[in-house]
């Protein structure tokens, strides 16, 4: 099925408008909010602190623990059932895996760093928004990091490769493939790539290229957000 024009009039490689802010939760060691289109993710970092039960401790390094949660009212009408689900457990796990390559927790053996991410409003691309917010919050918390992590989804809607799918496109009747990508922007390393659907090798390559291009824009937004916290205070 042909997909001629995007529902919201964007170009095929154009992302939804983004914004970010850090230090929004004063109780937390670090916090951030990341908005892309209608999707809003809020992340808060607590720790490092003691990790229990004890068998989970790693005597050589700290442990990163992510919690992903969609708020009950966040969807488009249907109430999201609160609490942990198969889906949220999976996303928490992939968040950890995508953030750990940049994070150095060797100074904090046997301890845990908790990253809580709440999705206030969702319109697809939630795990990517969650990773962007979490990486900002970790940087705001003052952890040693090799780089920030940028995440964006690319995919196939009908017959077209597109960047940053929204919910309507994910549900496209002619079939859609959604590929969330997380990238370390300085090195171009991919820390997350999931694929849901069927796609040709060429299209997959184009999706990854789209994603890498998109990450440059995300990095710019993240950079500005982190610096704004301190330059605003200067004024």
């Amino acid at each position: 099925m042909k997909y001629e024009k995007r529902y919201d009039g964007r170009k095929f490689d154009e992302m939804r408008p983004m914004s970010a802010e850090v230090g929004i939760i004063k109780n937390a060691v670090g916090s951030a909010k990341f908005t892309i289109g209608k999707t809003i993710a809020v992340a808060a970092v607590y720790g490092p602190k003691d990790l229990f039960p004890k068998f989970l401790q790693n005597p050589k390094s700290g442990v990163l623990r992510c919690h992903y949660n969609m708020m009950a009212f966040s969807g488009a009408g249907d109430r999201v059932r609160p609490g942990t689900s198969r889906r949220s457990k999976e996303i928490s796990m992939v968040m950890e895996k995508s953030l750990l390559p940049v994070l150095d927790l060797q100074d904090f053996p046997k301890s845990v760093v908790d990253v809580h991410v709440e999705l206030i409003q969702t319109d697809a691309g939630t795990r990517c928004a969650a990773i962007c917010a979490a990486s900002l919050a970790l940087a705001d918390a003052g952890f040693e990091m090799k780089d920030l992590v940028c995440a964006i989804s690319a995919g196939l809607v009908g017959d077209k490769v597109v960047l940053d799918l929204d919910k309507k496109e994910e549900d496209f009747k002619g079939g859609a493939v959604d590929i969330p990508l997380a990238i370390i922007p300085r090195t171009g390393e991919v820390t997350l790539l999931q694929l849901d659907g069927e796609i040709s090798k060429e299209d997959l390559k184009r999706c990854v290229d789209f994603g890498i291009k998109g990450c440059d824009q995300i990095l710019e937004v993240q950079k500005n957000a982190l610096k704004a916290k301190y330059t605003e205070a200067k004024k």
Partner: protein, 245 residues
């Protein structure tokens, strides 16, 4: 030829390239990757000769030897106390360092420091394995009685203290409160009146909020003069008392 890519005192973020070439060395908060020196945390750039250091702007307290900190007693064993100093790991205060006077064998430790007591203490040793030793033997180190403890970002404590203690002594003098800033970001404030304590608290939080602006001392002076108008009478009394002594 090595090239520095950032200005001194610029705010940098993790992953930002600070310098290219082998003449510059990564200091604290930076690392080398090939020819590049890269920042690993949010902070301000300080270049010391060829070494590039990043002074953190945020983050939790990292204990250092000889830091004076405010801690809470969390637990005790038969010969030591475990003290929460705002770090990922508890510090330990052993019996021999707990008091300059002799503590008898079998004495109950809660007579000295009970669980949840706040103490002003000094770090004597920090090992690589995160064993932190404390001492209570030293000038000014004691159990904190009365007053209140507030918390600010540890990175802002030097600003609160000011050059040779200028900022903190201004807050002390103008409000008449006793103020002590622990290096771990815990600030103990004890005033003669709740009003004075409130002003001192507001002043500390204001310093934290505006730690980056230039001429903060003048700004704070204005703030304190404005707020202390109602306290003026008491302040004079306290000065008179001191002179009588």
């Amino acid at each position: 030829m090595s090239k520095l890519l950032v200005e001194a005192k610029a705010v940098v973020i993790p992953g930002e390239i600070l310098a290219e070439g082998m003449d510059h060395l990564p200091g604290k908060g930076a690392f080398r990757e090939g020819e590049k020196v890269i920042a690993s945390r949010v902070g301000l750039v300080y270049v010391n000769g060829s070494i590039i250091n990043i002074v953190p702007l945020s983050g939790r307290y990292i204990p250092k030897k000889d830091d004076t900190v405010i801690g809470y007693v969390r637990d005790m064993t038969y010969s030591s106390w475990f003290i929460n100093i705002g770090y990922a790991y508890d510090a330990s205060l052993s019996l021999k360092d707990a008091s300059s006077s002799y503590i008898e064998r079998g004495a109950s430790l809660s007579d000295f420091f009970a669980v949840a007591d706040a103490i002003l203490t000094r770090i004597t040793n920090v090992t690589k394995d995160n064993n932190i030793d404390l001492t209570m033997v030293g000038p000014g180190l004691r159990k904190l009685k009365g007053g209140k403890i507030i918390e600010i970002t540890p990175a802002k404590v030097p600003r609160l203290v000011g050059k040779q203690g200028s900022m903190i002594s201004m807050i002390k003098d103008m409000t008449g409160c006793s103020v002590f800033a622990g290096q771990n970001g815990r600030i103990w404030i004890k005033g003669k009146t709740p009003e004075a304590e409130k002003i001192a608290t507001d002043a500390v939080f204001l310093v934290e909020e505006k730690a980056h602006i230039r001429g903060l001392t003048d700004h704070m002076k204005g703030f304190l003069e404005e707020k202390c108008k109602s306290l003026k009478v008491e302040k004079k009394v306290s000065i008179n008392k001191e002179t009588k002594k």
